[in-house]
C-alpha cells in the first residue's frame, strides 16, 4: 500500500504519518531527506528523531532522487519529506538534470522494494506570492511530484490542524 500525507507547516502531518506507520508491520525504515545545513536544521532533525523514537525505525539518510537507495529487507518505509527531497535534487549536493522523471523512477524503485510506503509532502502553494525563477521551479517541481504521487498512490490524506481529511482511498 502507498500513502501520501500532505499538509501545511506545523499541521500535524508527521504525527499522522507516524500513526499510519505504527499500524503497519516492520521492519520500519525512515528515509530522512533533510540535509543538516545549520543548527536550526539539526534541531528540527533531532526533534523529529525523538518524536518517532518509540516506533523503532532504522533511519536511512538519503539526500538524492531515491534511484540509488537500496533497502536490505522489505517492510514499511516512511519518507519525510518530499519538500526537502525536491530542494535536494534541484539545489543540493545530489542535484540532477531532469529531476521530475528521476524522482518518479526513484519512487518506483522504492515502491518495488517495500510492502508499505508513506510519503510526507508539503502544501506550500497557498501564499499567493510570486518568487524568483529558481523558487518557482521548486514550486512547479514539488507540485508536479505531488500530483504524480496522488495519482499513483492508493491513499491520499490532507492534514489540517492535526485532523486527517481523506482525499483518496480510506482512512486507516
Amino acid at each position: 500500500m502507498t500513502h501520501l500525507v500532505i499538509g501545511g507547516s506545523a499541521s500535524g502531518k508527521s504525527t499522522f504519518a507516524e500513526s499510519i506507520v505504527s499500524r503497519l508491520p516492520g521492519p520500519r525504515y525512515y528515509i530522512a531527506t533533510m540535509e543538516p545545513w545549520d543548527a536550526e536544521c539539526r534541531a528540527r532533525i533531532e526533534k523529529h528523531r525523538r518524536q518517532r523514537a518509540h516506533l523503532g525505525f532504522e533511519t536511512v539518510e538519503h539526500y538524492g532522487d531515491l534511484q540509488s537507495l537500496v533497502l536490505l529487507r522489505r517492510g514499511t518505509v516512511l519518507l519525510e519529506c518530499m519538500g526537502n527531497l525536491t530542494a535536494n535534487v534541484l539545489f543540493g549536493s545530489q542535484k540532477v538534470d531532469n529531476p521530475l522523471p528521476a524522482v518518479q523512477r526513484g519512487l518506483e524503485s522504492l515502491i518495488g522494494q517495500c510492502d508499505n510506503l508513506v510519503v510526507v509532502t508539503n502544501d506550500v502553494f497557498a501564499d499567493g506570492r510570486t518568487y524568483d525563477d529558481s523558487t518557482m521551479a521548486y514550486l512547479d517541481l514539488l507540485a508536479a511530484l505531488n500530483r504524480h504521487m496522488a495519482a499513483r498512490f492508493d491513499h491520499v490524506f490532507e492534514v489540517v490542524c492535526g485532523i486527517p481529511l481523506c482525499r483518496k482511498g480510506e482512512l486507516p
Partner: protein, 108 residues
C-alpha cells in the same frame, strides 16, 4: 470550544455570525475582552491555550500553506500558530474549516 479556521478573508467571521449565531459585539481580537468569540490568533501565537479554551469560538487564519519564510521570527510564528491550532483542534468539540464563506465541519 469551536475552532474555526480558513485562509485570510475566507469568510470565517461571517460564518460565525450567520451559522453559529454570534453578533459582532460578541467578537474581539483581544483575548482579555469578556466576549465569547476570539479572532486573530494568527497574529497572537503566544496566547495561552487555557485562555483560548475558555472561549466559545476561536477563529484563526490558516497560515502554514506557503514556503518557509526567510525570516526566523516569521518561521517561528508560523510554527507556533500551527502547533497551537493542532492543540486547540484536539480539545475542540468541533473544528470548522471555511472556504469561500462555506464552512465544512472536519471534526465533531
Amino acid at each position: 470550544m469551536i475552532l474555526v479556521i480558513g485562509g485570510y478573508a475566507a469568510g470565517k467571521r461571517q460564518y460565525v455570525r450567520d451559522s453559529l449565531g454570534y453578533s459582532d459585539g460578541q467578537m474581539s481580537n483581544q483575548i482579555t475582552d469578556d466576549v465569547p468569540v476570539f479572532y486573530g490568533l494568527e497574529t497572537q501565537p503566544d496566547t495561552p491555550l487555557e485562555q483560548l479554551l475558555q472561549k466559545d469560538v476561536v477563529i484563526c487564519d490558516e497560515i502554514g500553506g506557503g514556503l518557509v519564510p526567510m525570516e526566523k521570527d516569521e518561521r517561528q510564528r508560523r510554527e507556533r500558530v500551527g502547533r497551537l491550532c493542532v492543540a486547540l483542534a484536539r480539545e475542540a468539540t468541533q473544528v470548522i474549516r471555511v472556504v469561500c464563506g462555506i464552512g465544512q465541519v472536519i471534526k465533531g
